[in-house]
């Protein structure tokens, strides 16, 4: 009985390959959502480094920020439902999903750190004299996440037989 139950929970390779794109998509959406969520809780609420509304924000920035916030809020929930969907189809591919999460989170952070902070002047990372180290760490870590995610996705790209499947 336990064996049967166990077998039902295992992702099978055929299903993984069929839903490969959905694994990547769910990961990217979750990455965007989680990065936005961390940005909101850690930098806005806990550290108070970011400002809710910076007087120098452009109108385009206000609109861009509004849409990005709404999208990432939706994406977090939708991504978790997608993971549930993949699991019930025995098609969840955790490594691929994690790789995509890194790309999504890195992508969001890079967009936030360059376009939204600099171009649209929504707010700065922190209101200090020398902003450069903050910007470098922020955008540098974003780039690192994108690179790491890309390597993971490349190493786990679709092949007819998946080698090294742990389960």
């Amino acid at each position: 009985m336990a064996e049967i139950k166990n077998r039902n929970n295992i992702s099978n390779n055929e299903e993984k390959l069929r839903y490969s794109f959905r694994n990547t998509g769910a990961g990217i959406l979750f990455g965007i959502g989680v990065a936005a969520f961390i940005d909101e809780t850690v930098f806005h609420q806990l550290l108070h480094w970011h400002h809710f509304y910076d007087k120098s924000t452009t109108n385009a920035g206000l609109v861009s920020d509004g849409f990005f916030h709404a999208f990432s809020w939706f994406a977090t929930v939708a991504a978790l439902f997608l993971v549930a969907d993949l699991r019930r189809r025995h098609a969840f591919w955790p490594v691929k999903w994690w790789g995509a999460v890194l790309i999504g989170a890195g992508g969001f952070q890079l967009y936030d750190g360059t376009i939204q902070h600099k171009l649209m002047r929504i707010h700065q990372i922190r209101y200090v004299e020398d902003l450069l180290p903050y910007d470098l760490v922020w955008n540098g870590s974003a780039v690192l996440m994108i690179i790491a995610g890309s390597i993971i996705l490349y190493k786990n790209r679709n092949r007819n037989s998946i080698s090294g499947g742990r389960r």
């Binding site: 509304y53 916030h69 709404a70 999208f71 939706f74 929930v77 439902f81 969907d85």
Partner: protein
Amino acid sequence: MNHAQIANVTTGLPALFLSIGALLIVILYIWAGLRSSRHNRLKVWPWYRYVSFTFGIICAAISVTGPIAALAISNFTMHMVSHLLLGMLAPVLLVLAAPVTLFLRSLPVRKAKFVASLLRSYPVRFITHPIIASLLNIGGLWILYTTSLYSWMHTNLMVHILVHVHIFAAGYVFTVSLIYIDPVPHRLSYIYRSIVLIGALAAHGILSKYIYGHPPKGVGVQEAQTGGKLMYYGGDLIDLVIIVLLCYHWYKNTRPREALA
């Protein structure tokens, strides 16, 4: 007409009538639910719908009568609390209670068919289209907070009543247009409704920040900042419920066929 007279509406005799009306609606709902559950051909009306309806009506009632409503006239933060209750939380709770389904199943078949045909009529279909409903809901809020309507609302009783009726009705229509629990004549795809929801959520968030930076006429800077933040985060929280409901319905609807095997 001045503040004091409008405040009187929220706590005086009209408030008493409103509270009695709210109580009667809840009693009517519970009675209809229990009575229709006795039919053999109908399923028992679920208990959580009674709870949801009761809390929905309570939310709507305390935002227009009693202490919160009285404070909302001169205090922008309290106004925002009542706005979140009346325009967002109450509609979500009421939609979960499926009042139209209950109404239809409480009627004799012929009358129910007539009401159902009304619900399929062009005007109803028009205002329950998600884009129109979003424009009525969020568009209405933009007009309220960026024109002198907000200060006008506090000096003219008729405007005061109309604005509140609109906030509630538009909030309900907006929720109904996205979350299909009651019967819907023309169903739109999940992806379509998701995109509209994201757009409406964004417009709500942008308006909150706009209020933070540009206080409506007659509202102090400090109050506008607290109110704007409350609208932003409170709105996010209630919108989260709508997002989860929409995604959950989507998830259930795309259940793989061979799941029983």
